[in-house]
């Protein structure tokens, strides 16, 4: 039977929703699942993890050095815990993408990136070529599977669990060659792009940073997160942490608005798991209409404020 270790992602005070989704992927593999959190003081974080349904145990590794979980510092601690586990999973977020390959290499094994479906305990589906192809791969069962879960492919595990929490002492020497300096968050009061139920994204057709305000305005009316195409990011209208697509965030909101976005394959790969896709674009030939559930051909500068007004009434 599989024994799976899932590495939790957090910001110091809250467990990131990616963790509950990675847990769901682990449950598809089947077997015993432990969650582990690396923090300076993980008491409150471990409580949050204990509530996730499907975990056998929550392991809490508190160390001064874990105040900010830097990959080079967390990886050797995971390696120290690895023996006995058949699988070690992290989320396919920038946290997991940075960390897990380092863990794999230290263990002398490869990694399965972006699991979108578990076929069996050692066979997985994952997207390649910007989602143009789905690859099914089989990992050697004799070796530890290190993997990341594509969070947009999984529903978050429920929160009525009560797993026991164990504080674990990991005695391993940690490198001092990598030091966290700070984080500048483009943060707003808007919902997080990766967990928002509704997301409104704008593209190059917005034309300027100023014009993007109509996107924010519509999003705020609906309590939505705000995203953007790579073209809008490249044009400097919005910061890169808003980018949706192959090289940005992969999201799966219930409702997605693509406004002034033509729909390059690299963008579509980021939204293909969305529930309902709405497209507003003045070019009726735009590829976004091939995937949109509801399309409107028209001038976004008229349509978006009008839609906002209609939602008011």
């Amino acid at each position: 039977m599989s024994r799976i270790l899932v590495v939790a992602e957090h910001d110091g005070s809250n467990i990131n929703p990616s963790t509950a989704k990675t847990l769901s992927c682990a449950k598809d593999i089947g077997g015993d699942v432990d969650l582990v959190v690396f923090a300076k003081d993980g008491a409150a974080l471990a409580e949050q993890l204990a509530a996730l349904e499907g975990a056998s145990r929550v392991l809490r590794v508190d160390r001064e050095e874990n105040e900010v979980p830097v990959a080079a510092i967390v990886a050797p601690q995971i390696v120290a815990l690895a023996s006995g586990y058949s699988h070690i999973l992290g989320p396919s977020t920038t946290f997991g993408k940075d960390l897990m390959p380092r863990v794999a290499a230290l263990l002398g094994v490869g990694q399965v990136s972006d699991i979108m479906e578990v076929v069996d305990a050692h066979t997985f589906k994952r997207p390649i070529y910007a989602g143009n192809c789905v690859l099914t791969i089989k990992a050697d069962p004799a070796q530890t599977v290190v993997a990341t879960a594509r969070t947009a492919s999984y529903q978050a595990a429920g929160e009525s669990g009560s797993a026991p929490v164990e504080a674990i002492d990991v005695q391993v020497e940690l490198p001092g060659h990598t030091r966290f300096v700070g984080i500048e968050s483009g943060s707003s009061d808007r919902p997080d792009l990766q967990s928002a139920r509704i997301v409104v994204s704008g593209g190059r057709a917005l034309g300027s940073e100023e014009n993007f305000s109509i996107i924010y305005s519509l999003a705020d009316k609906m309590g939505a997160g705000v995203g953007a195409s790579r073209a809008a990011v490249d044009a400097g209208y919005v910061p890169n942490d808003m980018q949706v697509g192959q090289t940005g965030k992969i999201i799966a909101p219930d409702l997605y608005f693509a406004i002034g976005i033509s729909g390059a394959i690299q963008h579509l790969t980021g939204i293909k798991d969305a529930g309902t896709i709405v497209a507003i674009n003045k070019d009726e030939e735009a590829p976004i209409f091939e995937v949109a559930d509801i399309g409107l051909v028209g001038d976004l500068f008229q349509a978006v404020p009008e839609l906002e007004k209609l939602l008011d009434s």
Binding site: P101, C133, L310
Partner: protein
């Protein structure tokens, strides 16, 4: 520093829409335009800028792949790299093997910094840079959007989900590049001519003492499930109504 090593991968060009072969044995790459992985091109550009600022003396570009990957290395030389090494490998190798090969090159070449792309746009693995840093037992600064060198240290701004994270690392180290780090230069014709005279060495995996290991078997390649095309509405009011019908608002 003396030397920066940049790892380049030959991949299907960004603008090609790849198709899965009918028999599910792979994607059709015959006769398709091949290019330097765009993130690796950004990596090379960054190395060249560091050299142009007088902070590095030599830029070495390396690649692992078939003989044809020489084309991408020549392009790298035309962009301004000084020297190239191709590790000739005909079969597909896994990222961990790629990292072992790069480590062997590092041990020979002793670069002060290794820069590569954050992911290759073919297999979308995003593993090799991190694995290399782990095997080398050195720092990694992934998804970089700004790199500042200061003696034996570097400050790197990283594009993370929550925003922009800054870390300080000791050198040598591995940096992997994100999109906004820079905009790669265009190659000019005279530079292409000049690049033909720059050294490009070919070595084999065995010369480096690396044995390929295979942990994964490709079972099948399939086309993704397509979304169904939906409806086109006439006006904004119909759009709002359609959303209400679907239970939104």
């Amino acid at each position: 520093m003396q030397k920066i090593m940049v790892c380049l991968k030959r991949v299907v060009d960004y603008n090609v829409r790849v198709r899965v072969k009918a028999d599910g044995s792979g994607v059709a790459t015959e006769g398709v335009k091949m290019s330097i992985n765009p993130f690796d091109e950004i990596a090379l550009e960054e190395a060249l800028r560091i050299k142009e600022r007088g902070e590095a003396e030599e830029i070495l570009v390396v690649s692992i792949g078939p003989t044809d990957a020489q084309q991408q290395l020549r392009t790298g030389l035309a962009m301004g790299a000084d020297r190239a090494i191709l590790v000739q490998v005909e079969e597909e190798i896994e990222p961990l093997t790629a990292a072992r090969i790069f480590l062997a090159l590092i041990e020979k070449e002793e670069p002060g910094l290794v820069i590569t792309g954050k992911q290759a746009i073919d297999d979308d693995n995003s593993q090799t840079g991190q694995m290399l840093a782990a095997l080398w037992n050195r720092p990694q600064a992934t998804f970089a959007s700004a790199v500042t060198l200061d003696g034996d240290k570097a400050t790197v701004v990283r594009e993370v989900d929550a925003g922009l994270e800054t870390i300080e690392i000791d050198l040598p180290a591995v940096v992997t590049t994100d999109l906004r780090l820079n905009e790669p230069r265009y190659v000019k014709l005279p530079d292409i001519m000049k690049a033909k005279r720059k050294p490009l060495d070919n070595v084999g995996m065995a010369d480096l003492g690396v044995e390929p290991r295979k942990q994964f078997q490709a079972v099948s390649f399939d086309s993704p499930s397509e979304r169904q095309k939906g409806i086109i509405v006439e006006d904004v009011e119909s759009l709002a109504n359609a959303l209400k019908q679907k239970g939104f608002f």
